[in-house]
Symmetry: C2
Subunit: 359 residues, 2 copies
Amino acid sequence: MSLVQQSRPVREDARLDEARHSVESTLRDIVDGLHPDLSRLCGYHFGWSDAGGTPTGDGAGKLLRATLTLMSAGAVGAEPATAIPGAVAVEMIHNFSLLHDDIMDADALRRGRPAAWVVYGTGMTTLAGDALIATAFRALRSLNSRPGLDSADLLLAALHQMIDGQAADLALEQVPVREVDVPHYLRACAKTTALLETATAIGAVLGGARTATVDALREAGRHLGLSWQVANDVEDIWGDPALTGKPARSDLGRAKKTIPVILALRAGNPAAAELAVLLDQPEPTDDQVQAQADLIERAGGREQAEALSGRYLEVALGKLGEADVPEVERDRLIGLFRLVAGHHPAPAGGDDRASARVV
Amino acid sequence: MSLVQQSRPVREDARLDEARHSVESTLRDIVDGLHPDLSRLCGYHFGWSDAGGTPTGDGAGKLLRATLTLMSAGAVGAEPATAIPGAVAVEMIHNFSLLHDDIMDADALRRGRPAAWVVYGTGMTTLAGDALIATAFRALRSLNSRPGLDSADLLLAALHQMIDGQAADLALEQVPVREVDVPHYLRACAKTTALLETATAIGAVLGGARTATVDALREAGRHLGLSWQVANDVEDIWGDPALTGKPARSDLGRAKKTIPVILALRAGNPAAAELAVLLDQPEPTDDQVQAQADLIERAGGREQAEALSGRYLEVALGKLGEADVPEVERDRLIGLFRLVAGHHPAPAGGDDRASARVV
């Protein structure tokens, strides 16, 4: 892969970078157009300003979903810039879901800072999320084209799936962990997989790809999403808080039904039995949470989850292989997929362990 | 008007009723298709079931926005049924806003029962509101037609305006009441006027009306919305709790900046001065709130607000007069407008005082 990457035309990367900058500036313009109170909240949430509205000089982060959309358009032979409204829409829906989900999940930290609802209250944060939904569809309608319309339909379907997935995720809280099965877990996964799938598909649609190509890329994106969600569950337990931006093992402390726990409990070994007992603690201490994490690992939950994430990534890469795109483009998408899923060789910057969190 | 109403063909009313029944059953079908937890919450919110999910045997209420859409389509010469997806979409957006706004405004009662967030929590209620936004746009996309698309654009614009209006309304809470001016109040009014305006416009669009007719009906709907909002502010202070479904003077107790208060403070008479002092009480007792209401009335705030609501209604009816629709249809719309604005002769059922609340 590295040989291919080295040989790719520099001009193409420049085009992608340029398109990504346009996405960021479009996001800012849209946020600037909202009611001042919503604009301030969203500016803080995106990382552009501090809680009082003073610019931080920072960008909105890696915009990985937008990058997926832009690269997907490039892969099917279009200029990445063709897909800018799609990339903007996808980021807006992503950030709507972050704003609302942090309220629902009582997640007090986002990207290493207090979540928007902690700073501005749940009311205004709910409204800001609503606003981002509306801006997403307006961005796609601005295209006023058949591919723009098809993209809006895909995004609307994604929104439905994300909401269904989030409802399934909230429902998981009411189910004792030993009764949670993998299908229920997978339904909840749609809260994140639907948008990665759709980000990839929308790029292909706006790039003018044939249906078969769109479908292959869409399936690739869906499996990438599954790979990411499983890797994310692992990171939430064993990731470095400095890189994840969240307290260590916070999911365990709140008895979230993540896949390492689900798989560990089904392992049928002594560690699994011991874990089941320990999970019955209503409010575990830090030491008990650490003991849970160790038991999940001894029962094989971590290893199985990592293997599962790897298998989903393999399926995703296989789907990329089926898509009718030039090899050089496919290799670039493969690089991005590996980065998103967190299964990639350490890049020069050495921030590979953070990759599962940056999306 | 009564003569015209008596002479209208019975068959047309039957068509409207039939279309309205279709709207209700479509709403139910859509809600049934959501995640079971969201379905239960929405079923309760619409009034179809109790908190546990047991059917109440009740309908979703008068569906006044849907009725506006259906009647607007009928007025421009189409079958009311043509506009069913538009009527469904409008009701879904309306109910999204009720779910979210009740959280933001900490309104614990809705239609005389505990609001959904009180029963199911803010998280699931936020998500249910999100789901209703998505279902609204799916309903319009199901038309797969140019008018359907135009309607979706109108609804998207309305969603933006409603959110901006709600943000302006929340911002009002931070402004001392004597500094609130009428333009700020009017910006906040968009939270309700935008959808009444759009419900009317969408009916005309789906009915195939010319642009000039759509515009006249849209402007009529906007002024109807203003008339309603002002009348609603009056009802919130002086309405009968048994009819409004809310505690008496609840807006006053929470120092909401309603138009009777704003107008009373600007009256420049002794009652206005006395009111300004009384409004500085941080947590007024019931007696103090009653005294506030009396002072607003003595300062002329109630009378001025009622006159303002009446003037907006007159403008709305004037705009109806400009629309190129048959007189019999215009008269029927006039009847509905009067019902919505609460400025209408008592109907046989005698529930006229409740009309400002039923929307």
